[in-house]
Amino acid sequence: MNSSSFKDGHVTSDYSSDNLCTWCDGCGNYGALGATKRALVELGLAPHQVLLCFDVGCHGNMSDKMLGYRFHGLHGRVISLASGAALANPDIPVLAFGGDGACFSEGVGHLVHAVRSNYNITFVLHNNANYGLTTGQASALTPRGEKMNTAPQGSVEETINSMDFVFSLKPTFVARTFSGDIRQMTDVLKAAVNHRGFSYVDVLQACPTYNKFATHEYLLEKCYDANAEGHDSSNFEVARKIAVDTSERIATGVLYQNKESVPFLDRIEARKGIKTRLVDEVETVDVSELIKIFT
């Protein structure tokens, strides 16, 4: 087994599950699975020290293909579920995984508000530009005109530029990576988990069965590592520009990070100075002082 061992002696096989993978040959999820396990190990996290939340879609089948505490919830709702969990126990890194169908159509509102709220979670967008698990319908990220299931004459709606959309929300962390580059994805995920706030990680991934327009080969050809070319990830304007424009090349890596980011929980006045976590505080509260205003 190809395991990498790092500090605390964790190895990727600690995260291995006995369940067999069920994705199509050449699916980008294999790369995403490998990079996720690797990132967690390199961060020095044992499986019991993380919470991984999965949306419903092909990527969600990862929920029993690796270990770690996991919650596989509803379609479109993973960001809210993960955010609530993260607020309850800020010491446990929370990662939320969702597809472009779930997070740019069904649950796009949650994405908008999670960016605004800056919950301290890592959101991994499995972006294969279509609904894979329901057999290849167009998503909001599918290029207009592509012939898809339920759109045999080609989709007629405008495509959302996911990066333009996310940058319009004043994010504190934006990265993009490609399922064929496991080393880069590992580093990006590590940076995302270490970021204090909402980390948006757009994973461009191949869908060999339904996506004939942005194939593995296409992505391999067009993606470049912006960080390696000296991109300054603290520059919001430049980051937005290179993120949005994918006409010639596709910039990957950590595109933007606000190092001054203050996550949601730290903004709550009532919680300032409190050392305990919500999970530590479940006990009967005496209300005899609080009722005095009603006498």
């Binding site: 919470l51 607020l87 919500l278 509260v285």
Partner: protein, 659 residues
């Protein structure tokens, strides 16, 4: 039993609530049990709103239909609410040179109504006071109409404005003006018509005050529920504004600096529900609250809690539907929804509060059952409970007996070390309740899975597994049914009113040996009007007995009181019917009372045990029952009133009566 009612009406934003709340607090402190009913329209300004206070020296829990004193902020109130006055009642208004319609004048004359005009604007101008001080002025006039000392009112404003000496002084002056308003010696042009007959002067006779109410709390259902939520160890609250759940969200947010609870207004109800479940899964206690439309959006999440066996607490504050319905009014139309919300079959608990007291006390139980059985729990309330003002004993809130029970949650190192992943959803767990442990615990991990799953949360689509897991989960329902409390029986004697029937005296009533004349079954806010009705019915029977004996020449002893039992359901699903069946077999007549069109609890009862009620009283006009209409509808007086009369009353009240 004597009761006096005051109704304040006006446009929303005019100060109806401030005057209502000030009077309520003052009266409670003066030694009265107060029930406050707030009615308003779904607008911010200019809609017609009212605040009715029922005042007694005995326990009261509901409103009466007609009032002794009506205070009108504007002329719309005079037109709309004049006929809410009882004979000999007083109308206090501030509309200059108001001319009554012919019909209204006739009503005033025939009922000997006193009309008082308070020139609020002139008085304020004279005092150089801002319009907002009109509220204190009006409250002060009300105060003197009740014959109470102005000092009591001064004490209240001192608490509110003590830190602003100038404003406080102005408040005092307004109180003084109001107090002297009725005392002016000259024949008052304000008072017309001149009182005829014996009259009782301008004063309204309050019953003798009683010390026992002074130390009690005056609190709304929402505030009590908020305190109950805090008390139960809930550490995170997620909501989205929707009447009548919003006052709870507001109260919990206002309590943040004391409770240190995390309060989050989410972008929609789905988010609120999902964040709550995420927080619960991580291991804290969290809740969300909404009304019918928002609960609709939460139902998929409820189903997810069912299959993933995640504890969750949903508060559903009912208002009339369907659709947007009547946003600021009350209903009990969402019971069946709560019982069946969410796709698929899974265990759940549905319970309902009835007043401010149990709005506090059931919250600990809600969280405990959610964690013990790892199920979604829905706590029903109603606009009528959430926004009404109740007088409640302090001891209700100081109950140290309620403790947290987290069921099979494993937190200790030793327990965790013995776990294996497959313990999480082990289908052989007794009662279907398997071990639960939290993310971050040093133990084997599992997947909380909304797909059908095997013991460790892995996908498993085999028929054998699907059957085993379904049976595991549904076993919890049978176990739950065994431990939830039976409905509570309240009878004449438990109301602490001298029972006139010796057969109902004696220790306890749970083992009712004797027959009941009537068994009333209901849930939610109806309890209040029903108990007030029983109290009033007994009172009237007792009062009338000597009168009747004079008239009819019969002896009072032969005048037997009707034996009424009220069976109140707090736990609605799963539904326990053992006690109901036992009692109904001993009752001459069974009556179901509900605030919905279909008789939803009745439907569940029929489904579970086949029982049919002799009579159903159903109300679905957006208003909770008041004690007088119940009195008319039930007509339990010794000489039974003709059915046709009851039906006529029912139609008049917008109440459906079937069978």
């Amino acid at each position: 039993m004597s009761r006096v009612s005051l109704k304040i009406v006006g446009a929303q934003g005019q100060g109806v609530n401030s005057v209502g709340e000030m009077c309520a607090k003052g009266l409670k402190r003066a030694g009265y049990c107060v029930f406050g009913l707030r009615e308003y329209m779904s607008v911010i300004k200019n809609g017609h709103s009212s605040y009715q206070l029922d005042i007694s020296n005995e326990k009261i829990r509901s409103a009466q239909k007609k009032v002794e004193l009506l205070v009108c902020f504007n002329h719309h109130g005079i037109k709309k609410n004049l006929h809410d006055l009882k004979a000999e009642g007083i109308l206090l208004h501030q509309t200059l040179q108001w001319k009554f319609s012919e019909e209204d004048q006739k009503f005033i004359d025939e009922n000997n109504i006193s009309v008082l005009y308070l020139p609020t604007e002139d008085v304020l101008k004279k005092l150089n006071a801002k319009p907002v001080l009109g509220n204190v002025l009006i409250a002060s006039v009300v105060w003197s109409l009740f014959g109470r000392s102005a000092d009591e009112l001064k004490e209240l404003v001192r608490e509110q404005f003590g830190h602003k000496p100038e404003l406080l002084e102005l408040n005092y002056v307004c109180i003084g003006e109001g107090a002297s308003f009725l005392e002016s010696d000259q024949p008052s042009p304000r008072l017309r018509p001149a009182r005829k007959g014996k009259g009782k002067g301008e004063k309204i006779c309050l019953p003798e005050s009683s010390e026992k109410w002074k130390e009690q709390l005056l609190i709304t259902g929402s505030q009590a529920m908020g305190l109950g939520t805090i008390h139960a160890g809930c550490r995170a609250f997620f909501g989205y504004p929707m009447t009548p759940a919003s006052p709870l969200l507001t109260f919990i947010a206002d309590m943040q600096s004391e409770s240190k609870m995390l309060v989050k207004q989410a972008e929609d109800e789905i988010t609120a529900a999902q964040m709550m479940v995420g927080a619960m899964h991580m291991g804290t206690r969290a809740a969300t609250a909404t009304s019918g439309g928002g609960y609709d959006l939460m139902t998929e999440t409820i189903s997810m809690c069912g299959v993933s066996e995640t504890p969750a607490v949903f508060i559903l504050a009912q208002r009339p539907g369907p659709g947007t319905g009547l946003p600021t009014w009350s209903a009990q139309g969402d019971l069946l929804m709560a019982v069946s919300a969410g796709h698929g079959e899974f265990p759940r608990l549905v319970m309902s509060v009835s007043d401010a007291g149990d709005s506090f006390s059931v919250m600990m139980d809600a969280f405990n059952y959610a964690e013990e059985f790892q199920i979604p729990v829905t706590v029903l309330t109603e606009k009528h409970i959430a926004e009404s003002l109740f007088t409640v004993e302090q001891s209700t809130f100081n109950n140290q007996q309620s403790t947290i029970n987290r069921g099979k949650l494993i937190l200790d190192k030793k327990g965790l070390s013995m776990l294996k992943s497959g313990d999480r959803y082990a289908s052989e767990a007794p009662d279907g309740i398997s071990a639960r442990w939290l993310p971050g615990s040093e133990a084997p991990t599992y997947c909380a899975q909304s797909y059908e799953h095997s013991a460790d949360g892995s996908f498993d689509e085999s028929g054998e597994n699907a059957k085993a897991q379904m049976e595991k989960r549904m076993m919890k329902m049978a176990a739950l049914r065994k431990v939830i409390p039976e409905p509570e029986l309240l009878t004449n004697s438990e109301l602490r009113i001298k029972p006139t029937s010796p057969r109902l005296r004696g220790p306890g009533n749970s083992e009712l040996k004797e027959e009941l004349d009537v068994l009333i079954v209901s849930w939610g806010s109806n309890k209040n009007a029903i108990l007030d009705f029983i109290q009033k019915e007994i009172f009237i029977t007792q009062e009338q007995a000597p009168v009747l004996s004079e008239v009819e020449g019969s002896s009072p002893a032969s005048h037997k009181n009707t034996r009424v039992g009220y069976l109140h359901y707090t736990y609605l699903w799963p539904l326990r019917t053992e006690k109901l069946l036992e009692l109904s077999s001993k009752a001459k007549k069974t009556i179901l009372i509900e605030g919905n069109e279909q008789g939803q609890l009745g439907m569940l009862i029929r489904q579970e045990c086949g029982l049919e009620f002799d009579q159903r009283i159903l109300k679905y006009d957006g208003r909770a029952f008041n004690v007088d209409e119940l009195f008319n509808l039930l007509a339990l007086s010794p000489s039974p009133s003709p059915t046709s009369l009851r039906k006529a009353t029912a139609r008049q009240a917008g109440i459906g009566e079937l069978r």
